[in-house]
């Protein structure tokens, strides 16, 4: 077991997009730490850089400069293949638009990360079923995503994120595409996961989400606003 209670350490993180003629600074001098078992909400206006931060935390992208340590490993300097391995062993990602694969059944969607980890089909199916039963969908394993409601889709996505036993659970506007009642149920699920000891970082506009967090980080123009926002 890792004795270090800090899961995420970010120092002076900077991300510049150079695709256009004038470079766009999406993030600058961002530093933060996330302790084990913390539930953090990142809030900010659209275009503030919060999605960029989430992508960097999710090892989907690498920063232009700065340090990102995930459980002591420096993710910022990893190769593409190493990033893939971090994503499938350390990080559970939940998206606003669910991002399930339409041709695959619920069970196959959930077991896919395990298969990329080289776990046998049989073992993967068992663990996927456990994960689905954790989110209350053990009766939906053979359905296709198109046969599910929005709330159910998001539960499948959460089951997929949980199946690898992630050290960091990231969510990008997890309630953004749901009605308030279903959104509330999803938030309760996140809160329950938090109670179980999961480390969660959520990007959101939704104040009701931020309210449930231990800590709220506000991002403005690529920087963390240095005060604690009281909601």
């Amino acid at each position: 077991m890792n004795e270090n209670p800090t899961v995420v350490t970010v120092r002076n993180l900077r991300k510049v997009y150079c695709e256009t003629e004038t470079p766009v600074v999406a993030l600058d001098k961002v530093s933060l730490t996330v302790g084990r078992g913390e539930f953090i909400a990142i809030v900010g206006a659209s275009g503030s850089g919060k999605s960029t931060l989430l992508h960097l935390l999710g090892a989907l992208d690498t920063p232009t400069s700065g340090v990102y340590e995930l459980r002591g490993k420096n993710v910022a300097t990893m190769s593409d293949e190493e990033l893939s391995i971090v994503r499938r062993t350390e990080i559970g990602f939940v998206f606003q638009i669910f991002n399930l694969i339409g041709q695959l059944s619920v069970l196959d969607n959930v077991s896919l990360p395990l298969k990329y980890n080289g776990i046998s089909d049989h073992e993967a199916a068992i663990r996927a079923k456990e994960s689905l039963s954790r989110v209350g969908l053990s009766n939906r394993t053979t359905h296709l995503p198109s046969q599910l409601s929005g709330g159910e889709k998001q539960r499948v996505a959460i089951a997929r994120a949980l199946v690898i036993g992630p050290s960091l659970l990231l969510a990008d506007e997890p309630t953004g595409n749901l009605d308030s009642k279903t959104g509330c149920a999803i938030l309760e699920l996140f809160e329950a996961l938090h109670q179980e000891g999961h480390t969660i970082v959520v990007v959101t506009h939704d104040k009701s989400v931020a309210k449930r967090a231990d800590r709220v980080i506000t991002i403005h123009d690529g920087n963390i606003v240095p005060m604690r926002v009281e909601l």
Partner: protein, 385 residues
Amino acid sequence: MQSVLANRVRSGLSGLGIVFGVAAVVAMLAVVEGARNDVLERLSRLGTNVLFVLGKDNELSTQRQLQYGDALRLTHASKLITALAPAVIIGSRKSETVIGITPSYVQVRQLTMQSGRGLTDVDIQTRARVCVIGREVLGDDGNQVGLGDVVQVENHIYKVVGIIASEKSTKDQSLGSLIRNHNTTILIPITALPMDAVVVDEAIGITEITIRAPKAEDLIAMSRVVNRAVLHGQTPEPSVEIVIPLQLLREEQHAQRVFAAVVGCVAFIGVLVGGIGVMNIMLANVAERCKEIGIRRAIGATKKQIAMLFLAESILLTLFGGVGGLMLGVCASFGIAHFGGWSVAISVWSLLLAFCMAGLVGLVAGWYPAKKAAALDPVEAMRRD
């Protein structure tokens, strides 16, 4: 797998080129193999490694007839010549052919003795009036002749010392008298021909020399050796023609070869067009499934795993086409055999080759789309619809 099945019509159409390409390969190989088997079948009695030196009528005053001496000279001409049999066909006695031979004839012509013995060097030296006969040689009384009996050829009496095992009769006319049926022959020593005029051995006029090479590939080199040894530096030179049965039959199969070449072109074009079709559909596939690729990458698939996903799909697609092509190709081969009258042969290795070729096309055609899919940025790819 799912995506190949989901786009059945599209996959089917793009696999069609592969179907025709593979079918053409199967048909081409079947015709080539059939032609080869045909040659082997027709040469089964002679063997493929045989060359004939045939005596011709003198056309010029500077030429003379092929003689026994020429055969003796050839014996030492080259290491390539492992066995050689001069023979003189004397003509028919009733329905039988009388042939003057040396002891090597039985071996070179690959005859089997049923009983008794073959002719020996002693028979040649002593000009013995003995003979070896085929199973169907009949005596004057119409009964089958046996060991120890005698047969009369012109005015001479020959004692039967051996009988040749029965041969299957051949209907093949293309090689004429070169493939003879030994069931009705009487073989006598070349030095004991039923002629009254006695000449020196070397000057005995002969009809043919059969020469066996170590391998069929040596025949061309051997014909050069024969040319040098028999024809050149002699006055008068013998009037001969060198015949390689294998070559004769191969020339006869010109039509088959042209067909095979044309079908080979069809196969090439089919496979090329099929490959382009598969690449096209795979590119469309990658574009359509951009979001899915992004999701897979986000949950931990490496570039290699994404590339393998699409490469496997491409190969699967062409292998489906390959199966269809094999069936069509087998049908086409039987059609050629039935309507064209050619012999075709479908071998397991030719089917395997055609099938592997389909897989290879899948690999090559899928390479670029797979690479493209793997190179997608996960965040970008997920944003697209």
